[in-house]
């Protein structure tokens, strides 16, 4: 019975992924992309959205898990849930809007109406359904939802590790992020830019914690803004690359900021220039802890497979096809810090999105990466940088020099586990 599908599903991932090199086919084979949807996107925990995007009862916003649209709903009972945007009658797309506030959804095709908890509330011309059981026609939903400090993840697998187990060491990075708010909370209120990218999603996944490229890909920005940031990525940098396991990786700049020992240097500013923020932080955390938080700054962490927190921005990677990915990006906004938030938005708008001074060049690399992958020779891509000097840190995570490929090796180790079944 499985004979018909066997040939296409027999991909030997262990033969395509070695400890320090990967086969180009992993980026461009449509069969591999289909299996990634099955084994990663429609099984693992995937980041969907943030609770601050649906602050009020009956708010909803259209999000996605891979190519599948998902409605993130703050329902009439106060629960956060993830509904599928498909009418159970004959399959019509139910909601055509990006966001809104409503307690019910009515399908435009034959007017079936659903509560925002997913239950069918009523049929049009109900006499035609005499004796049928309405509860059989509820909207589909993402069966498992995990919320860590406001970050909403969904999994199509009915069982598996909890979101906290899955995040593991990356939880500490989210905690570090939220410490930058005097109230310990994020508010993602600035709206997302959507950057369409003609490249496989894994080029983005790998690049987010790649400390080897900025000195070259971003040299034009560093030059014209007189930025010292370039040095953080050079051979002298004391920043670290880290593999948290489960595919989560980090570029840890704290060693550099601690060496500098200046609050808010990570954001290119000083307490004097953000006095309201500095005061609010001191009031919340006490002077000593506030100082440490403002020295350490915000994390640079890639949570597998699609949530990238880049100090001042939040990216969500959405694969659409084997050769197409959408980078959704917004400015981080911290609760209770208007002066800080304004600067976060301004810096974010300058650097990311389709016209961003940084991301336009990263994205150019992704698209060239993809065109390169399509060429067969050489078929293996090398991820060996720094293998001789990687080590374990005090928490037993693998770490390496800021320019080393520790994160990329970690990503592929996890990927192989998910894909080789």
């Amino acid at each position: 019975m499985t004979a018909a599908i066997a040939p296409s599903s027999l991909i030997d991932y262990r033969a395509l992924i070695e400890p320090t090199r990967v086969n180009s086919r992993l980026y461009h084979d449509p069969k591999i992309f289909e299996q990634e949807l099955e084994r990663i996107w429609y099984r693992s925990w995937v980041y969907v959205g943030h609770v601050s995007e649906v602050p009020n009862r009956n708010d909803y916003v259209t999000k996605s898990i891979g190519p599948t649209p998902v409605l993130l709903v703050h329902d009439r009972t106060g629960q956060i849930s993830l509904l599928l945007n498909k009418c159970p009658h004959r399959g019509n797309q139910l909601c055509a809007y990006r966001e809104g506030n409503r307690s019910t959804f009515t399908c435009p095709y034959h007017s079936w109406t659903f509560s925002n908890t997913g239950e069918l509330a009523g049929y049009a011309y109900a006499d035609g359904y005499e004796g049928s059981d309405k509860s059989k026609f509820a909207l589909g939903r993402v069966p498992r939802i995990g919320i860590y400090r406001g970050f909403v993840f969904g999994s199509f697998a009915t069982e598996g590790p909890s979101i906290e187990e899955y995040l593991g060491g990356a939880k500490a990075s989210i905690d570090q992020l939220l410490a930058n708010s005097p109230e310990g909370e994020l508010e993602l209120t600035a709206g997302f830019l959507q950057h369409r990218t003609k490249a496989n999603w894994k080029f983005m996944l790998e690049n987010e914690t790649d400390g080897y490229h900025p000195a070259f890909v971003h040299s034009s920005v560093f030059q014209v803004t007189d930025s010292g940031i370039g040095k953080l990525y050079g051979p002298q940098s004391t920043a670290l690359t880290r593999d948290f396991g489960n595919g989560h990786t980090e570029f840890d700049l704290r060693p550099e900021w601690r060496r500098l020992d200046k609050p808010l240097a990570w954001f290119g500013t000083t307490e004097e220039r953000l006095p309201d923020y500095a005061k609010a932080m001191q009031a919340s955390y006490g002077p000593e802890r506030a100082r440490q938080i403002m020295i350490d700054g915000s994390p640079h962490v890639m949570i597998f497979p699609n949530l990238f927190i880049a100090e001042i921005q939040l990216f969500v990677l959405q694969p659409i096809a084997v050769d197409e990915t959408i980078q959704h990006v917004t400015a981080l906004q911290f609760k209770g810090t208007p002066d800080f938030n304004r600067r976060l938005r301004q810096q974010t708008m300058g650097s990311v999105g389709p016209a961003g001074l940084l991301l336009a060049d990263d994205t150019e690399m992704y698209e060239r990466n993809h065109r390169g992958a399509l060429i067969n020779d050489p078929e293996w891509l090398t991820l060996s940088r720094g293998i001789h000097r990687e080590r374990r840190d005090e928490n037993d995570y693998l770490v390496g020099h800021s320019t080393d490929e520790v994160p990329q090796r970690g990503i592929w180790r996890h990927y192989a586990q998910l894909m080789a079944v």
């Binding site: 600035a190 950057h195 890909v217 030059q223 304004r342 389709p354 001074l357 060049d361 150019e364």
Partner: protein, 172 residues
């Protein structure tokens, strides 16, 4: 029935408006050519010191609270131009090949030496990625300086700004 000549002599105001429209169009065509040919310094010189260059995302939401694709003040326009001039802004190395049509030019409003103008723009871009078409409704505020204009404000409303769009690294 009146012929065309009679209308023009009967309505000198309309004739003067036509002349102004002609000047504005010439300015917009010049700007388009400087953008199409990557004449960065000459394009930068079209802006006033208090300029705002705005490309909204997701429709025209408030740029002071929501993300825009571009929301540049004068100093960020300069940074953008300087980056293009390094020759290492990879997304424009090699440069996009461009041709744009500026049309439907309307004069909306004139206050003192400033004129509000609207136009539709259609741009064909060829880059390493492939061929991309861009359509926008543009709004300009121009300041008259002698016989010339400067741009005080330019808003480029891409018709698909609420959808995912490719890299936009040429001057739009």
């Amino acid at each position: 029935m009146t012929n065309r000549q009679e209308i023009l002599t009967a309505q000198p105001r309309a004739a003067r408006a036509g002349e102004l429209l002609g000047h504005v169009e010439q300015f917009l065509f010049l700007e388009a050519r400087l953008q199409d040919t990557h004449a960065y310094d000459e394009w930068e010189a079209l802006w006033t010191d208090d300029a705002i260059y705005w490309v909204p995302a997701n429709g025209a939401t408030d740029p002071e609270t929501r993300m825009s694709i571009i929301y540049d003040n004068r100093s960020r326009i300069r940074v953008r131009i300087n980056q293009l001039k390094t020759g290492r802004h990879h997304t424009q190395t090699p440069r996009s090949e461009l041709a744009r049509i500026v049309s439907n030019v309307e004069l909306l409003n004139r206050v003192g030496d400033e004129i509000d103008v609207r136009a539709n723009v259609f741009i064909f871009e060829d880059s390493l990625r492939g061929e991309t078409m861009w359509a926008a409704r543009n709004e300009y505020r121009l300041r008259m300086q002698g016989d010339d204009f400067k741009m005080v404000r330019k808003k480029v409303s891409l018709v698909n700004s609420h959808k995912p769009i490719f890299t936009l690294s040429f001057l739009v």
